[in-house]
Amino acid sequence: MFETLTDRFEGILTRLRGRGRLGDAEIAEVLREIRVALLEADVSLEVVRDLLERIRERCSGAELSKSLTPAQQVIKVVDEELTATLGGESFKLTYASKPPTVVLLAGLQGAGKTAAAAKLARWFKQQGRHPLLVGADLQRPAAVEQLRVLGRDVGAAVFSEPTDPVAVARRGVEEAVRVGRDVVVIDTAGRLAIDEALMREVAEVSAATRPHYTLLVVDAMTGQDAVRTARAFHETLELDGIILTKVDGDARGGAALSVKQVVGKPVAFVSTGERPAEFEPFYPDRMASRILGMGDVLSLIEKAEREYDEDVAAKAVERLRAGRFSLEDFHEQLQQMKKMGPLQNMLGMLPGIPKEVRDAGIDESQVSRIEAIIRSMTPQERDDPSVINGSRRMRIAAGSGTSTSDVNNLLRQFKEMQRFMRSSGMAGALARSGPRRKKKQGGRSSSRKGAGSRH
C-alpha cells in the first residue's frame, strides 16, 4: 500500500520540479491522499482534520528541499507531525514514597487488560519491585482464574476474593501493605464507556484505591470509536497513560494517535503478543511510520538526506582547502549544523575545536540572525563579501531585519573564521562530521523494526 501512496505523491508533485516552492494546488491534492491513508489507518476523523491542517500550514509556501524530492519532503513533514502528536512527554513512572505504588488498568471488554496486568507485573519484577496482582474483575467468567494462571507464569502473587470489585481492590491494596509488596496492579472488568453503572463502579474502585497511575488499555485494531471511548474513560478516571495492545498484527494502529490526542497522556507500553514477555516501551517514531505505512520510504528519505549532507560537507571541505569557502557555504554549514541538534553538542563532538571556542557558548538566536543576514544577500555578495559596500550593508540589514552593525559583525566573524579554518583542523573535522551520523543511524533506523514492521 505504501508504494502506491508514494507513487501517487510523486505523480502529483513531479509537476513541481524546477519550481522553488510547494504550490497550493499540489498541496491540496497531496493532502487528499494523506487523508485517505490516515483514514485507512483508523486515525479518527477529528484527529485527521487537525493533522491535515497542521501539515497544510507547514507545507504551504515551503521552500523545496535540495536533498529530497517534493514527495519525500511532504512525507517527511507528515511523519514529523505524526511523531510529534504521538510523542511529547514520555511515560515516566515514579514510585510512591509511601508504598505501594498503585496502578489501575481499565478499558473495553477484551482489550487485553488481564494480559497487560501480568505483563506489567513481570516488568515491575524486572525493575526489582515486588508486585501484587489484584483481580477485581468478578464479572467475566474465570477472569480471576485467568489472572491467577498468568500470575503464576510471571511469578507474581495474586489477590482476589468473591466479594465486590471495590472491596477487592481496597483489600488488595491493604494486603499489599500487610505483606510488604511495593507495587499493586489492579485488573478490572471490561466495560463499555456508555455503561453508566459500570463506569461508576470503576470510578469507585479508583476512589477507594487512589491509584498513582491509571492506564487505559486500548486494542490497536480499534476504529473510530477510540476517541469516544478514550474521552469517556478519561473523564471518569483521569488517565495517566495508555497501553496499546495487539500491536503484533497488521492493524496500522491509528487509534494510538486518536487516543493520544484525546487523552494528552503518553503511550506507556505496547503489547506485542500473548506471552508475558511480549511487552515493550513505546517509540513514537516507529508508530508514526507504521500508521503512515511507509517505514521503508522514511528510511530512504533519511538516507537521501544523509548522503546530501555528506555531499555538502565534502564540497565545503574542498572549497575550504582551495580557499574558496564563501558565505554561501557558511550558510549551508549552518543549516547542516542546525539539523544536527544543539550547536553546543555539535561542537563538543567535533575534534580539533579549540577549547575557547567550545566554551564560548553559542546563542541559537544569534545563528538565526546570521542566517537571515546571509539570506538577504545576493549570490554575488555571498560568493565574494568584499563587494559589500555601505549601501549594500544597509539593504542587507533592512532585508534581514537587523542593523548594519550586525551585518558588519557577521562579515568580520566570517573573515576570522576563514582564517581560523585554514589554519586549524576544522577542514578535516568537517569531513568527518561522524558523531552525528552514527547517532542518527542508531536512533532511527534501528528503531524502524518492531512496531514498524509487519509480520
Binding site: V36, L39, E40, D42, L45, T94, Y95, A96, S97, P99, L108, Q109, G110, A111, G112, H130, Q139, R140, P141, E145, R148, V149, L150, A157, V158, E175, R178, V179, G180, D182, L192, A193, I194, E196, A203, S206, R210, H212, T214, D219, M221, T222, G223, Q224, D225, R228, T229, R231, A232, E235, E238, D240, K246, D248, G249, A251, G254, A255, E274, H455
Partner: protein, 344 residues
C-alpha cells in the same frame, strides 16, 4: 469411525487441579528496607474522580441530526453523510461506493431537494448490500454438525458459544462444547462456566493439547451420546500469524471427518474494530472458508460499520449480533435495524 489423527493426549484428562490457595503472606527479608524509597511522587496524586458519566450520552450526539436540519441538498450535505459513514467505520472505499450513485442521482435530478429523502435513499442502498445473504445457521441431520468459532483475540468467541449453548439447550436441543482453546490462560475454565450456566457438556483437553484433537474428542463424544451439534471454541489468533492459521486449518480438517461435519465457520468480529476487520475477514476466509460473521459488542458506542465493507467486498453474510455479556444478549442480524442504528 476414523481414528484421531494425533493419538497423543487425546484422552480427555481430568480437569487440571484447582488454583492453589492465595499465596501465603510472604515478606521477603530484604523487602522491609525497600519500602521507603527515595524517589517520591510529589504528593500522591489524588484521583479527583469526576462523576460525569451521566454526560456520556450527550457526547455521542447523532451526526445525522444536522443533516436532517438542512434545508436542501448540497456538497455540505454529502460531506456530512461521508463523515457520518466514516465515523461508523464504514471506511472510505465503501463510503464512496455508497455515495457516488447518490451524487449521480442528484445530478440527474432524480432525488429532489429533501435531505430526508437522501438519507432514506442511502439507508436503502446500505440495507440492500445485505439483500439475499444467507443468515441461517446450518446443520445436517445425519451427522454431528460442527460450528467452528474463529477470530482474533478477545473478540467474544467463547462468550458467543456460551450464549448459543444456552439458546440451544433452552430450545431442547443437546449440544456439546469443545474447548479448543488450549492456549490462553483459563480459557477452558471460562468455557466450563458457560457449560454450567447453559447445561451443555464441555469436552476439554490438557493445557497446551493439540486443539484439533480436543475438537475431535468432542465430536466423538457428541456422536456417542447422540448430541447433534458441537460448538467448537478456538484460541484467539491474529490473522497474520501463519503457523496459528495453519493450526486452524487443521482443526477444520479434522472436525470435518465423519461423524463430524463442519456446517458453519463463524468469524467473530468486535464492533469496535476499524478497517483491520476487512483484513481479518479476508485472511480467515482464505484459511478456513468462513461461512458467516458474528458481530459482537454492538451494545457499545461503536457502530461496526466495517461489516458493510466486509459484505460488499467479500460477500460474507452477517449472521448474529452480540449485544452484551449475558446469555440472552445474542440476536439474529437484522440489516434494517443495523443500518438504522448506523444512521442514528
Amino acid at each position: 469411525m476414523a481414528p484421531p489423527p494425533e493419538p497423543a493426549s487425546t484422552a480427555a484428562p481430568p480437569l487440571p487441579p484447582a488454583a492453589p490457595p492465595l499465596p501465603p503472606a510472604v515478606v521477603e527479608a530484604e523487602l522491609e528496607e525497600e519500602l521507603h524509597l527515595p524517589e517520591a511522587i510529589p504528593e500522591a496524586k489524588r484521583p479527583r474522580v469526576r462523576e460525569r458519566v451521566g454526560r456520556a450520552r450527550e457526547l455521542f450526539a447523532a451526526p445525522f441530526a444536522s443533516i436532517r436540519r438542512r434545508a436542501k441538498i448540497d456538497e455540505a450535505t454529502f460531506e456530512a453523510l461521508e463523515e457520518a459513514l466514516l465515523l461508523a467505520d464504514v471506511g472510505l472505499p465503501t463510503t464512496e461506493r455508497l455515495l457516488t450513485p447518490l451524487r449521480e442521482r442528484l445530478a440527474a435530478k432524480a432525488l429532489g431537494d429533501d435531505p430526508d429523502a437522501l438519507l432514506e435513499a442511502l439507508k436503502q442502498d446500505a440495507t440492500a448490500l445485505f439483500a439475499g445473504e444467507d443468515r441461517a445457521l446450518h446443520r445436517e441431520s445425519d451427522t454431528t454438525s460442527v460450528w467452528l468459532f474463529v477470530g482474533v483475540n478477545g473478540v467474544g468467541k467463547t462468550t458467543t458459544i456460551g450464549k448459543l449453548a444456552t439458546f440451544e439447550k433452552a430450545a431442547g436441543r443437546d449440544v456439546v462444547l469443545a474447548a479448543g482453546d488450549t492456549f490462553r490462560a483459563a480459557a477452558g475454565e471460562q468455557l466450563e462456566l458457560w457449560g454450567e450456566r447453559s447445561g451443555a457438556e464441555v469436552v476439554r483437553g490438557t493445557e497446551g493439547a493439540d486443539p484439533s484433537s480436543v475438537v475431535f474428542d468432542a465430536i466423538q463424544h457428541a456422536a456417542a451420546k447422540g448430541a447433534p451439534l458441537v460448538l467448537a471454541d478456538t484460541a484467539g489468533r491474529l490473522h497474520t500469524k501463519v503457523n496459528l492459521m495453519e493450526e486452524l486449518r487443521k482443526v477444520r480438517r479434522v472436525a470435518d471427518r465423519p461423524p463430524g461435519k463442519v456446517t458453519e465457520v463463524l468469524l467473530v468480529l468486535d464492533a469496535t474494530t476499524g478497517q483491520n476487520g476487512l483484513a481479518q475477514a479476508r485472511q480467515f476466509t482464505e484459511a478456513v472458508a468462513v461461512t458467516g460473521v458474528v458481530l459482537t459488542k454492538l451494545d457499545g458506542s461503536a457502530k461496526g460499520g466495517v461489516v458493510l465493507a466486509i459484505r460488499s467486498e467479500l460477500g460474507l453474510p452477517i449472521k448474529l449480533v452480540g449485544l452484551g455479556e449475558g446469555a440472552p444478549d445474542l440476536v439474529e442480524f437484522d440489516p434494517e435495524e443495523f443500518v438504522g442504528a448506523l444512521f442514528d
